[in-house]
Symmetry: C2
Subunit: 600 residues, 2 copies
Amino acid sequence: MTTYTPPVKDMSFVINDVLNIHKYSNLPGFADATAETIEAILEEGGKLASEVLHPLNKVGDREGCKRHDDGSVTTPTGFKDAYNQFREGGWNGIAFDPDYGGQGLPFVIAMALNEMISGANMAFGMYPGLAAGAANALHAHGSEELKRRYLPKMISGEWGGTMNLTEPHCGTDLGLLRAKAAPQGDGSYKISGQKIWISAGEHDLVENIIHLVLARIEGAPEGVKGISLFVVPKYFVGDDGSLGERNAVQCGGLEEKMGIHGNATCVMNYDEATGWLVGEENRGLNAMFVMMNEARLGVAVQGLAISEVSYQNAATYANERLQGRSLTGTKAPEKPADPIIVHPDVRRMLLEQRATIEGGRAWMLWAALQADLHAKSEDDETRRKADDILGLMTPALKAYLTDRGFWHASTALQVLGGSGYTQEWGMEQFVRDARIAMIYEGANGIQALDLVGRKLPREGGRAIQAYFGELDEFIADHAGADAELKPYIDGLVSAKADLVDATQWLMQNAFANPDNAGASSVDYLTLFSLTCLAHGWAQLARAAIAARGEGGDKSFFENKLITGRIFLERILPDAKSSLLKLKSGAEPLMAMKAEAFMAS
Amino acid sequence: MTTYTPPVKDMSFVINDVLNIHKYSNLPGFADATAETIEAILEEGGKLASEVLHPLNKVGDREGCKRHDDGSVTTPTGFKDAYNQFREGGWNGIAFDPDYGGQGLPFVIAMALNEMISGANMAFGMYPGLAAGAANALHAHGSEELKRRYLPKMISGEWGGTMNLTEPHCGTDLGLLRAKAAPQGDGSYKISGQKIWISAGEHDLVENIIHLVLARIEGAPEGVKGISLFVVPKYFVGDDGSLGERNAVQCGGLEEKMGIHGNATCVMNYDEATGWLVGEENRGLNAMFVMMNEARLGVAVQGLAISEVSYQNAATYANERLQGRSLTGTKAPEKPADPIIVHPDVRRMLLEQRATIEGGRAWMLWAALQADLHAKSEDDETRRKADDILGLMTPALKAYLTDRGFWHASTALQVLGGSGYTQEWGMEQFVRDARIAMIYEGANGIQALDLVGRKLPREGGRAIQAYFGELDEFIADHAGADAELKPYIDGLVSAKADLVDATQWLMQNAFANPDNAGASSVDYLTLFSLTCLAHGWAQLARAAIAARGEGGDKSFFENKLITGRIFLERILPDAKSSLLKLKSGAEPLMAMKAEAFMAS
């Protein structure tokens, strides 16, 4: 019953007008990305998303994946055909290095496409998404030999990929990891151990699956400094690229989950499977971080994507469902009742979602542009700064957008009332699917710790200072903003001041007692994210005002500014309460004995 | 995998020490409720909840209910045996009028028991819960003849009961209702029409089901002023109480839902079924409101109950799961990692839940005491004031506690990370079950409208003035509070001032433009609820400080005060942002054209 309309116009507006990526045409691949090309790519990708992938979203939820006695896994009806279309369209390699078969277009465009695929069918999108993440890790850390052997077919979509971190007793704390790697003297290793919650670990969409696996080489140090990364193909690959024998890796079972039933979440058993080292011995976490950061951005996109699709369906329902009359008098006298969109609180639910979606999309694509700058700029300082800022943004994008994604899916369900709660309408699937994004690739609390404990203090706070510098420059550039733009600049100034205050509080208190960092981490992340959204909205508003003046689609830009006001008046006020909560610190949280938390 | 520990100690503390219900021993039934009796009842009811009902919670979710071709419905394995134990214990009539077989104990105690049943097994609790609601409506509005015929066996639990409001085209807007009632000239009516989402509409736990049905008598006015209420038994009941023939009412189908699979949500088809009028013609909504208000309190309790059970299981997990080390140094050197309860953010997640649960329980039971005062006081003024205040509290309790219930279930799931997302652990069921409570018995947005549009302005604001008077009296009584109690009084003073401000804003703006009431309703409800929680916490803190001084279980009271600080420092700050958002009013929400909400 649900539909998905690709937000092509909004994405084009952000990419062309807000980010103005044509300024960067000196970067490799950017010159090819004209406004027309971008729109054509988004249109084409959007068509695949809405017409091929979205109709399978409910099928995937209902059928789920099936594991057979031989360990093989079948995806839901229609997934394989859809995947073939996805592969044939070359969508997996859109932003990948042309040396290995990619198209080398800006990562910004890949992120926008990714949003459409995840919005249309999140469970489906994870199959190519994991392959892309594995390919990026191999690209960054693998030897040229490994890259040549595996990357082209991963990029073409002929092969899949996975990341294998979690074991039954260790998820967040990888130092406890037990999987073993025994060197064979020929450069290969025998990998043994059990990995759990491996998304897309085994399935029937591709000929081969390239697993990236964390394991401990015999004799390696304990803890995180003794972990290495290995590539373990499902089928061995000959020097000519042909598939050989089956490796000793098997799917031992599928997890029964709350949602994303269309994706196979596997228990993977490695029983002396042959693997090859990626990067250096005992530096596996370092290599895996490339994949995790990439994956975190992918999960952030899922949060945004589910927000969008659930918003769209709630908005349609609100325009169609007749129930009650407007408080200010009948609006549709020819009908037995007014559509519920006449009610301010229904609009509130919708507009609060939309304000975060549109601001979030501007924020996310701005961050994606930093990834492009980091990867492609010829200027060291630009590259370094972009990497610093992207590092800071990644945990916030992941945690904030997925928290909101779940909340938005739930609010969209609420717009439908009882219908939202029934399986028939499809809204409750969005809630169940969205929930995992708050957990995987590092639970959102871990993202907050990553932000305050790792990204903030690194290099004496270089990244946050760089970001504050960006904001100050933006604010200074708009000091004389007119009455229409001024509230956005004021909102940004206020949020930034709160964030500076919070950052100083952290510096003063977290060193004395590290628990203060943990205690305030989530509030800090919220305040940080609201500041980023305020920045995003100020950029959106500026571009909308400018574009409207040039006589485009006036109502599109007017609606953008209405939505922006909702952000300023109904979402940004949470910045102040986040700051207050943050300053309450660790003491009250740590006062109670651990056992007193339990019921007695 | 989940467990349920009845919070008997906390309930006893609220009932005996905070509310001090022994002050009311002049009310009928209260003299019997000594502290010992209360504890014995709660212990016994808690045993049923934890040992009989909770083990069936997951079974109910997995199996769901089954409808057979003859329209009969089978509940999940074990539900019938459990129901028989529930019935034999006489739990359904604990607070009901002794004239019809009830025990006449305080409603406060029934509410506490209700929390335990809903916490242990929400889907199960709805079967007797709906019967109790139907019995209350019949008790309030039915003729003596109807009451004698139906009430005793509904109260004994031999028969069930339902409420039939919703039709496919009308849920919130009952004015559109189409079910018909044709008078037969003998005092009976033939009822025809389809009702949907009828909880416990058909099942195998009881011999007979007494349906309360809204329908339109032929020739009645259109809209809500032409709706009457009827009692329609599944089996006719002879004058001697014996069961006769089957009435023409059938379950036409079961709804497939996100959760509460253990409860049968029925499509009910009335095909010239015989019914009898309850109360006056065309005054059916009035009669049904008794049931709805009762039911809304029951749903509020579900929110609290799911908060409690999900908190408990998350707290246990956090004490057992070993992962990572404390930021301030190893706490469990003998183990491979520290339990995750050492992390401030894990504690934050747990304590924020707990602070709302404990404050919410004090608030809810205080409201239940108003119901007792309304029903039983001999003083007109006391009765009227109690009814006013309960009317004000009901929508806020319903909306706030169910919003939080869902949020808490989700946060508790988060504490378990990936395990929380798998079906095996049982946490995700709490999320799915909790979600419906935000919708049924009036979606939470409707509750907010009820609060600002109906309860606030009624009788010139008599109810809110009475409540402000209560708060002022409490604040004056504690003007000289010591350093330990003072922050709670200060918090209450501040929240109340914000609420007064918001109330004045509403008075000034909602009359000029009713959309301002709708626009600010949810923020008003949030601010109102935070004020009620601040009141609850001030009462809890006062009682804890006093009881601790008397040398009881010191750590119980100390932990209460630690939890209270979390409320003051991490939850109450949202009052200010609610006030800010509220004042943004209707204008930005109404600015966009309806069709512009839809994707294009």
